[in-house]
């Protein structure tokens, strides 16, 4: 099980980082989502991996799962969902007003106030 979880985290992180490096908003957002899934699973496993163990105190049970990472993951999931929504909206706004979905900024030189137009020319 450890191997499965560890490799899942590793593969998701690797894929996420690859997608983030694509520098176009859609792959980057998918990459960020993958990274947040990876980190959520990682946080979950930070309290040791157990199966069939309750997290809440109960009679007749002597093996427990650590409840704290589950609370942490819950918070992390909520925050990462919210942040992903924010980044989608901001990226959409950026795409609509700049006419391209590049993440990296064009060169800004003095005397060229309309930097987005040059970027448009280069990217198309």
């Amino acid at each position: 099980m450890e191997l499965l979880v560890a490799s899942a985290i590793g593969v998701m992180t690797a894929a996420g980082i690859y997608l983030v490096l694509r520098l176009r908003t859609f792959p980057v957002i998918i990459g960020i989502s993958l990274l947040t899934y990876a980190v959520n699973v990682f946080l979950f496993s930070a309290g040791r991996l157990t199966t069939n163990a309750p997290a809440v105190l109960r009679d007749g049970v002597d093996r427990y799962a650590d409840p704290l990472p589950q609370a942490l993951v819950l918070t992390a999931i909520v925050i990462s969902f919210g942040m992903t929504a924010v980044v989608v909206v901001v990226a959409l706004g950026s795409w609509l007003s700049c006419d391209d979905d590049l993440v990296d900024a064009p060169d800004v030189r003095p005397g060229q106030p309309d930097a987005t137009a040059t970027a448009r020319g280069e990217s198309s």
């Binding site: 990682f42 309290g47 009679d59 990472p69 942490l72 901001v90 706004g93 993440v103 800004v108 987005t116």
Partner: protein, 545 residues
């Protein structure tokens, strides 16, 4: 347990909600509420600072749960100093936003501003690492909104980068926290300090990873060199008052490094040896160099200030990376100075931009800046402060850093880099100042020769409205704080030295937090009616750990 500790977090949070709900459509009401709240916050942080100035540590247990299980807020010298700095910065920045009309160019400026202040306050006050992450997210999500406030293509693009980069930073933060929790089983700072100290050097691999990951996260926030890419574009595209408020956000990173690496991973800890002299100090010196070279190379005045912010963070980090009480004291003094100097420069860039019409922020001669002598004079003062020329506080801060660096192994390199970059910064600012303020007048004179004088006069007054009185007042307030920091350098230095001494004596902090009485987790077994549930519950608690 004083309830005042939690008010700096609650007050802006409640106020932001009230502004969103009640004052959404009444800008003047939102302005009044926001300013009143910020003034109240300033008074409150002064009181808290005064309260902590005798060296006492106050702990606030949220929900009255005892420390390692519940979340705690802590006021000691360091956190009250930083909250005071935040409130002292927030007030003039808010006044500038109102005076320049920035707050009406988009919706919800005041609510986002208050949320941002809430997040910063919380990050400074919390005594729990995961809660630190949560407050980071609060201040970041507010900063996303503020960053793209008033919209526009370049700003949205820079905003996308900023959001994405910070999301990556947050992911890294969670990885660091997961590693830390897996190694120690706790996330309370005081408890962490005890448990990390108990780890023997043989099984230190995981905790080393956690320490390095955390340092990386805070270096992202503090814009230390290899991780500084997000700063120039974001800060130069952000609205001026927002960029000025962001001046404190890089200091949140510095604060976290100071807090975590004096308390949890102190410099004499065996498992994290070499983190500072091998990694952080060269990175800090490099970001100092790159920042100041960027000042020299910047093509736009807002970029110039953004690079100056990177440079000043490099200086702060250099003092920090020495990691002696003297170094931390110098870093704290420089943090106060650089927050104020960066903020005032960002506000002045906006004032210049307003005054220049079409030339905007380009670093070339254009129409003269109106409000001319006043704006130029204030820019001159702020540039002096930022470069570290006498007589302003930058000079004193730099002297303190140089003095602290004297004993370290890399003293020669540190001195050389600090002094050379100061020279580069002076050249860069002198060039910018002469382009923007002096050459513009020459061009105006030439134009006056070539064209009709009246037409030129009309052109100047047309594109160059004077900065409003409230704008001048708010910039003046920040400059007055810099001057006060210079005049009262003696008492301030004593205060930061005491702060550093308290930080290096972590026993008191740990004992106070873990010793504060509160509710503890007890298992009574009432629901099950089991006779010896109490003892069983205790066993189960141990098993759960």
């Amino acid at each position: 347990m004083s309830h005042w500790t939690v008010v700096p977090v609650l007050l802006p949070g409640m106020l932001a909600a009230i502004i969103v709900l009640a004052a959404r459509h009444q800008p003047s009401l939102a302005r009044i509420l926001s300013v009143a709240g910020t003034i109240g916050l300033l008074a409150l942080t002064i009181a808290l600072f005064w309260r902590a100035s005798d060296g006492s540590i106050d702990v606030y247990l949220l929900g009255d749960w005892a420390a390692p299980f519940g979340i705690v807020l802590v006021t000691d010298r360091l956190s009250t100093l930083m909250t005071l700095l935040t409130a002292a910065l927030a007030l003039p920045v808010l006044l500038y936003a109102i005076g320049s009309g920035w707050d009406l160019r988009g919706k919800h400026f005041h609510a986002l501003f208050q949320f941002q202040v809430m997040g910063i306050m919380g990050a400074f006050l919390t005594g729990d690492v995961f809660n630190l992450f949560v407050f980071f997210e609060i201040l970041l999500i507010a900063s996303y909104g503020l960053m793209i406030h008033a919209g526009g293509g370049p700003r949205l693009r820079a905003g996308t980068q900023y959001v994405l980069y910070n999301l990556l930073g947050s992911t890294l933060f969670l990885f660091a926290l997961g590693t830390l929790y897996a190694e120690t089983g706790t996330l309370n700072m005081a408890d962490l300090a005890q448990r990390v100290a108990a780890i023997d050097a043989g099984s230190s691999a995981g905790i080393r990873v956690a320490a390095v990951l955390l340092l990386l996260v805070f270096a992202v926030k503090a814009a230390v060199l290899p991780l500084h890419f997000w700063l120039p574009a974001s800060y130069s595209e952000a609205p001026a008052p927002v960029a000025a408020l962001f001046a404190i956000m890089t200091k949140v990173g510095a604060y976290c490094i100071i807090r975590i690496y004096t308390l949890i991973f102190p410099p004499d800890l065996a498992v994290t040896q070499g983190l500072f002299d091998t990694w952080l100090l060269p990175a800090a010196l490099l970001s100092l160099a790159v920042g100041m070279i960027g000042v020299l190379g910047a093509g736009r005045i807002d970029r110039l200030v953004a690079f100056a912010a990177i440079g000043s963070m490099g200086m702060l980090m250099t003092a920090l990376a020495i990691f002696t009480p003297q170094g931390i004291a110098a870093a704290l003094y420089y943090a106060m100075h650089s927050t104020l100097a960066t903020a005032v420069l960002f506000l002045l860039v906006d004032a210049v931009q307003v005054g220049r019409g079409r030339a905007g922020t380009d670093l070339q001669a254009g129409s003269p800046v109106s409000g001319g002598p006043l704006t130029a004079g204030m820019f001159f003062l702020a540039a002096i402060a930022m470069c570290g020329l006498p007589p302003l506080s930058g000079f004193i801060g730099k002297l303190l850093v140089l003095d602290a660096a004297r004993g370290s192994d890399l003293a020669v390199i540190s001195w050389a880099v600090i002094l050379l970059t100061s020279l580069v910064a002076i050249v860069g600012f002198a060039r910018a100042g002469s382009q923007v303020f002096w050459k513009s007048h020459q061009i105006a004179a030439k134009q006056a020769d070539a064209f009709e004088t009246e037409a030129d006069e009309a052109n100047i007054s047309d594109g160059a409205p004077n900065p409003g009185p409230l704008m001048a007042v708010s910039i003046g307030m920040l400059l007055a704080m810099i001057v006060a920091l210079t005049i009262f350098a003696g008492p301030v230095t004593t205060t930061v030295e005491r702060t550093a001494a308290q930080l290096f004596d972590g026993e008191d902090y740990i004992a106070t937090i873990l010793g504060t009485e509160g509710k503890v987790i007890e298992y009574h077994g009432d629901d099950y009616g089991d006779a010896d549930a109490a003892t069983g519950g205790a066993d189960q608690e141990e098993a759960a750990e």
